[in-house]
């Protein structure tokens, strides 16, 4: 009896551990988005050249939602934060949530220096 109780306890412990470990894993998940490679600024893009070559990414859906949630509180009184649009921005990474359009994030890189740059004008 004591042996079977010990076995049950051990099994329960094993299941609990396995479930705990399953909660989070370093697993890459698929996502889709849009991008553009351009020169100059996003407000007035020109053909990319040897001196000016940038990439902007725009993503929506679950990945944008997860980023938005991880980025903490909304920014108040900023460009774009009107009409129920929630803006969250850290450095050059910007995410937004609008009840009608859902989650959206944008960011970019200067492909000549590799530095993080904005993916939107506003």
């Amino acid at each position: 009896m004591r042996k079977s109780l010990a076995t049950i306890a051990l099994l329960a412990c094993g299941i609990a551990l396995a479930q705990g470990a399953r909660v989070w894993a370093f697993d890459y998940r698929p996502f889709t988005g849009h991008y553009s490679i351009y020169g100059g600024g996003l407000g007035d893009p020109v053909a990319p050249s040897k001196t000016s070559k940038n990439i902007a990414f725009w993503i929506t859906g679950p990945v944008a939602k997860q980023m938005f949630k991880a980025m903490g509180p909304d920014l108040k009184d900023v460009c774009g934060a009107e009409d129920g649009n929630h803006i969250r921005q850290r450095a050059e990474v910007s995410c937004s949530f609008h009840p009608k359009d859902g989650y959206h994030c944008d960011f970019g890189f200067d492909l000549i220096t590799g530095k993080s740059i904005g993916g939107s004008i506003c």
């Binding site: 698929p30 996502f31 889709t32 988005g33 850290r90 450095a91 960011f107 993080s116």
Partner: protein, 130 residues
């Protein structure tokens, strides 16, 4: 008369040439797909942990045409990149792209979501690993 006609004709030709030159490049948004992971710690299965409010990062992994385009855009290979010469690595700041004959083009980058700063999407040395 002929002079006036020639001037008009040249001006028209010039206008057409300018229009064609500017039509060579279009600002377009192209679709792409990739994979991502949100994690804490460092971006590897051994050193990553569950993200927490103060430690949330996102790593992106891009392959295919977009990775090739980025690889070509970011310029020359890193000198003395990987021990295997067939593994080509191009790195600018925290943005890393590579090419291997076996699995093609791949680009990696990551952001710290607490600060928005660009961080490494691969841990040191992982870029040259099989």
């Amino acid at each position: 008369m002929l002079k006036r006609f020639l001037v008009t004709f040249t001006a028209l030709l010039c206008a057409l040439a300018v229009q064609n030159a500017s039509a060579v490049w279009d600002y377009v948004h192209r679709k792409f797909s990739g994979t991502y992971v949100i994690y804490g710690g460092y971006p590897s299965s051994e050193e990553a942990r569950a993200p927490t409010p103060g430690d949330s990062k996102i790593a992106f992994n891009l392959t295919g045409d977009l990775a090739k385009e980025m690889f070509e855009a970011i310029g020359p290979d890193m000198k003395g990149g990987c021990a295997t010469p067939a593994f080509r690595v191009r790195q600018r700041d925290m943005l890393v792209c590579r090419y291997r004959p076996k699995d093609g083009y791949r680009c990696n980058f990551a952001f710290d979501l607490s600060t928005g700063l660009s961080v490494g999407g691969l841990i040191g040395g992982a870029v040259c690993q099989e």
